[in-house]
């Protein structure tokens, strides 16, 4: 099944299992969300559990917080990460902090779905990858699945999590198909997946860049360089143990993300790895990300912003010298 169907299946299973799970957001009913990730759910669960809201991200998010405080488990649909910014106040100032500010009297168990990334010329206001913004906020869990099986198992885990979870799917993965075990248990949040074993360089990545890095790793293999590819899956908490163990072996670290390189989460991983493993590294850690420009519309320009497999190969090879 596709990445979108995997999420839909997981959500339906969770709604079946727990009557307090419900969804609020724009355009969920008629076409089942921007990628059909809610298709048929309103018919199945009714309009009180799959709620089509007005276009008002502040209140969609604020209402989600209020409803979470009062004994329900809302899944909040914000369409794209770009519109997550419209609700940033309620995410940062309310959802992430309410438990702490009230001294642990309450919790806000909610999921905030806001897909990241490029997709078919969506341009500057519909293509951003803002995952690092949320990682910076204490109180939030941040998840970015790279494949259908993970989208199924991680969404289940996010819904069952008692902390607020920013759940970032990738628009270009919606139609990607793969094997999904529908009976799978929820994934463990904070656990990375080693997508490919290797010994010469550790490539840390997530979301749509996992596929790009695996393609690069294959090309590198043909050129005699063994790359290990780690799919973080969860950005907060991130799996330091798996990353550090790998880097300690390979002694080379390359982080790849689609988000703007400046101030991106790659910087955090490189900094942590440098602090912990400086004497084990044989070359400076490297990052690949988008240039610090708004995402352009024209295809050749957008392509210039994309990190491709060739960029990964080139950078990894340079690190072997």
């Amino acid at each position: 099944m596709t990445y979108a169907q995997a999420a839909l299946t997981a959500l339906a299973q969770e709604m079946e299992r727990d009557g307090s799970v419900w969804v609020l957001g724009e355009d969920l009913g008629p076409e089942g969300g921007v990628a059909g990730q809610y298709l048929g759910l309103q018919q199945r669960f009714g309009k009180t559990r799959i709620v089509d809201t007005p276009i008002c991200e502040n209140t969609i998010m604020g209402a989600g917080v209020g409803a979470a405080l009062c004994g329900t488990r809302p899944v909040i649909e914000l369409r794209y990460a770009d519109f997550g910014i419209c609700a940033a106040d309620e995410i940062v100032n309310q959802a992430a902090k309410v438990r702490y500010m009230l001294g642990g009297q309450v919790r806000a168990p909610l999921v905030i779905r806001q897909p990241i990334g490029f997709r078919d010329g969506m341009a500057a206001q519909h293509s951003q990858s803002t995952e690092a913004w949320w990682v910076h906020v204490p109180g939030l869990v941040v998840v970015a699945p790279s494949n259908p099986a993970d989208n199924h198992a991680l969404l289940k885990a996010a819904i069952r999590c008692d902390d607020p979870v920013v759940y970032m799917e990738h628009k270009e993965l919606w139609t990607v198909a793969g094997e999904v075990d529908e009976a799978a248990q929820p994934a463990a949040l904070g656990q990375a997946n080693v997508a490919k074993r290797g010994s010469d360089v550790t490539i840390v990545t997530w979301s749509s860049m996992v596929g790009v890095c695996l393609e690069a790793a294959q090309a590198l293999e043909a050129r005699g360089c063994s790359a290990e590819v780690i799919d973080l899956r969860t950005l907060w908490p991130w799996d330091r143990e798996t990353v550090f163990e790998s880097v300690a072996r390979s002694r080379r670290l390359l982080v790849v993300h689609q988000a703007v390189k400046v101030g991106g989460f790659g910087g955090e991983i490189v900094a942590e790895a440098s602090e912990q493993l400086f004497d084990r590294l044989v070359t400076a850690p490297r990052r690949l990300g988008a240039p610090r420009v708004p995402v352009p519309y024209a295809e050749p320009l957008e392509t210039m912003c994309r990190v491709g497999a060739a960029d990964v190969v080139r950078t990894a090879e340079a690190m072997m010298l």
Partner: protein, 325 residues
């Protein structure tokens, strides 16, 4: 016109207002004396609104509050000592010393939180009401906010939301004429809060927010309507804050004659006059007020001597998945 309310119930409103006045008189003074930190927004002058509204709520009903939140918490039944310890940032504070004045709340009493972001508590209130309706509960949610909040987008979104989904929310606009240091009338278009609510199909009324009996009667009508028919209502209560926006603001942007005019309609003095006209002894009323001051003094003494939170609590209640250490 309404029936004359029982003297005993007005006396109860009077007691609550005296407690709020005593609490915030100390809180403001303590902030100016440097004993408290951060923002302390006094509710002095506005006591009749929280008191009159909360007198019509059950323990299970929810309220959401804003930065000027002490009065709402006390009126909903919060313990003044636990609140004072919170303001002092000490162990035993209702939020463990992590929230302070601006986030003081006792969730066990249905207090969803005081809030430091204008109008955000209103969006949380409609979400609470959404949950109440989904679960088929009979609770009412009251959203308290100021006239300044009427100009923020989330406020208008929340009015629309509550009306569209038919939610059990009473919106209570405490109109004290000022948005922080700016006169609200100078930055607001149109005929006012009630008209804005009406534009979303929400009925309501304006009430003299310095008349606790009038507030309580209006609240009783609207709370009943909200509870029985699960639809939002709007109460616009006119009032005035005697002090500045917060304790360190002297409020010098206001005409002193304006302050005097409003102090002449002090809700507590008016209620005392009403009660004495009903045969309650003046000395008895003074004793009630003294008792409130004494109760706050005991809370302060307890707060001043309470220990600071243990350093390990810095890291608790942030999040469990990926918790800090």
């Amino acid at each position: 016109m309404n029936e004359i309310p029982p003297t005993e119930s007005v006396l109860s409103l009077y007691r609550t207002m005296c407690l709020i006045r005593a609490f915030d008189t100390h809180a403001g003074d303590a902030r100016r004396a440097g004993k408290l930190r951060g923002s302390v927004h006094e509710y002095i002058g506005q006591e009749a609104i929280a008191t009159g509204v909360c007198a019509n709520l059950d323990r299970a009903d929810y309220i959401s509050s804003y930065h000027r939140g002490h009065g709402h918490c006390l009126a909903k039944g919060a313990d003044p000592e636990a609140m004072m310890k919170e303001l002092y940032g000490r162990v035993g504070g209702v939020c463990g010393g992590k929230g302070g004045s601006m986030h003081v709340a006792d969730f066990s009493l249905g207090i969803l939180g005081a809030n430091g972001v204008v109008a955000d508590g209103v969006t949380i209130a409609v979400g609470a009401a959404h949950a109440v309706k989904m679960k088929g509960e009979q609770r009412v949610v009251v959203a308290f906010f100021g006239d300044g909040a009427m100009n923020r987008g989330p406020m208008l979104e929340a009015l629309n939301w509550a009306s569209v989904f038919g939610l059990p929310v009473l919106f209570v606009c405490e109109d004290n004429l000022y948005s922080d240091r700016t006169r609200t009338g100078s930055v607001s278009a149109g005929p006012g809060p009630l008209a804005r609510a009406a534009a979303f199909g929400i009925a309501g009324e304006t009430v003299d927010g310095n008349d606790v009996i009038a507030v309580s009667e209006a609240a009783a009508r609207h709370v009943r309507e909200v509870r029985e028919h699960s639809r939002p209502r709007f109460l616009h209560a006119t009032t005035y804050r005697w002090r500045g926006h917060l304790a360190l603001d002297k409020g010098l942007y206001r005409d002193p004659r304006e302050v005097e005019r409003w102090q002449a309609v002090d809700p507590i003095v008016r209620t005392a006059s009403w009660l004495s006209s009903r045969g309650v002894e003046r000395t008895g009323l003074s004793r009630e007020n003294d008792a409130a001051i004494e109760r706050v003094a005991r809370a302060v003494a307890a707060a001043e001597t309470a220990p600071w939170p243990d350093h390990t609590t810095l890291y608790t209640d942030v999040q469990d998945v990926g918790a800090p250490s």
